[in-house]
């Protein structure tokens, strides 16, 4: 069976959920081989084996450390040249896109980004993309070089294999080909963590827009998210007003989410916002304007003031749970 190279991200001990999704997808296309940077612990190898990776390429970080996307691209391009895989799978997002773009150029290979589905076909993997703010579906294929595919988080449900495999771990030492001038990260200010689930991975997302009215009002969105065990999201208007951090922005220039439940409070549903959330399974909207476009895609809409409806909803959910 042909190899499917999967770029895996991890935090030392745990493999990112989106990487497990890629491995699950890779099994349907061929024989998954994981490309991993940094320390490869036994626990990590086990987790990869449970999700079907038969090979783990453990890439030794370059010294001095290279700019991360450049280093990852170097590893993936080199391994792709070496193993002639049937496809390379990378998670969509700013970092993944940068890696994939560089690999495609270096291999002079076709790239398809932000796949919502990938299926095996005789002529190579067929990739489905959701385009034009989610209004059209496009099926395409790479016809030159190794298919480089970035996959939207949450597009696949991660599943372990019935019988875990024991992956072969192979060390990979790369030579930095006297790479040209690269950027250097000179300062890094970490952001506060919230303890809430990661936005693109969450099964419930509660998002607030300009209609929440203030930073104070935005706390209501957070409270509902916490009651539902979900992530907090926002429209660009809400992040621009600094009612919440920018990384919570959903839409064309923010994140794309596809949770089981999406609750939009005080969001009008502009096309650029819908682009990032209309793949959600169930959409609930609370908006005081009955003509708000968000109601056109909502499964359940409430025309009303969110400052009244949300506290009542939180109370009602708490009551039902006793």
């Amino acid at each position: 069976m042909s190899t499917i190279l999967v770029l895996v991200r991890h935090d030392g001990g745990t493999v990112q959920k989106s990487s497990l999704e890629l491995l699950t997808l890779a099994r349907r296309l061929g024989d998954p081989a994981a490309v991993v940077h940094g320390d490869v612990s036994d626990a990590l190898v086990d987790a990869l084996g449970r999700h079907g990776a038969t090979t783990v390429y453990a890439v030794t970080p370059l010294t001095p450390p290279a700019y991360p996307p450049v280093a990852e691209a170097l590893a993936v391009a080199e391994l792709a040249a070496r193993t002639a895989p049937a496809a390379v799978l990378i998670t969509s997002g700013p970092l993944g896109t940068e890696v994939a773009a560089r690999v495609a150029v270096r291999l002079d290979a076709g790239i398809v980004t932000d796949a919502v589905q990938v299926r095996a076909e005789a002529g190579g993997p067929v990739v489905t993309q959701s385009v034009f703010a989610g209004t059209w579906l496009v099926e395409g294929r790479v016809r030159r070089g190794t298919p480089i595919i970035t996959v939207r988080p949450n597009a696949v449900t991660p599943e372990p294999v019935a019988t875990p495999v024991r992956p072969v771990v192979e060390r990979v030492d790369l030579e930095d080909p006297a790479s040209p001038a690269v950027p250097r990260v000179v300062a890094r200010r970490p952001k506060a963590t919230t303890g809430r689930p990661e936005l693109t991975e969450a099964t419930v997302v509660v998002a607030g827009g300009r209609g929440v009215g203030s930073a104070e009002g935005f706390r209501l969105i957070e409270r509902l998210a916490d009651v539902l065990g979900g992530a907090v999201g926002a429209s660009r208007a809400a992040t621009d007003l600094t009612w919440c951090p920018h990384e919570l922005q959903i839409g064309q220039t923010g994140k794309t989410v596809a949770p089981q439940l999406y609750v939009a409070g005080g969001i009008s549903g502009a096309i650029q916002h819908r682009a990032g959330m209309q793949g959600s399974r169930t959409i609930v909207a609370i908006n005081k304007d009955p003509k708000a476009p968000i109601f056109q895609i909502a499964d359940f809409g409430v025309v009303g003031d969110l400052h009244v409806v949300l506290p009542a909803l939180i109370g009602e959910i708490e009551n039902r749970r006793g």
């Binding site: 970092l95 395409g140 096309i271």
Partner: protein, 259 residues
Amino acid sequence: MKIAVLIKYVPEATAAWRFAEDHTLDRDSVDGRLSELDEYAVEQAVRLVEAGSATEISYLTMGPARAVDAVRKALAMGGDRAVHVLDDALHGSDAVGTASVLAAALRRMEFDLVIFGMASTDAEMSVLPVMVADLLRLPAVANAVTLRVDGSALTAERETDDAIEEVVAPLPALVSVTDRSGEARYPSFKGIVAAKKKPVTTWSLSDLEIAPERVGTAGAATEVLAVRPSPPREAGTVIVDEGDAAVRLAEFLAANKLL
């Protein structure tokens, strides 16, 4: 310090977009404009000139004849001249093909800094800045929120999910800027008049010494097999809150096993 800004002519976001028979975006049936995300790149370049950090701005675009509208808009915001790569054989180019054309054009231009928008508002792939940087072997900073140059280096700030990073790259360098880098200005009347007199040079594939079969639909490394509209979402229930909305919403969530 010379800046090259990459710009794209795209269909208006609010228009009803369609596919043409050959599965490319039907650009003839809808109004087009300078991509809103490229306006942020133009804005940053104009600000660098205003701040005295840069002296000249050249624009580069690849697109159909009508793309010159986008070029004029950018020139009305500021800048000096533009290059328009125009060739029928480019129709249907994929990302790798487009990157090779833009890189070939940039090799014939003078610049210390190349600025891109973070993505196009039509294809939305976000891959071109980095592809062009890789081809030209330039250091690249993707998705910058702020930038400044001091003659020999570019300093940019960018936001990742868990941190704000300050990144330094020696010039010549390439950067893409996000829609958080600063509101783009509206062209002034004076700017619009001045833009009409600024030179726009047209280059064909032969000017760039690129074989037509390497680009366009013929040279694309990807192919589209089928397109179809997304299944419309089923019309849902909309209720007007009469004091019972929270209870009814909770019932809906419970009935759908979402509580």
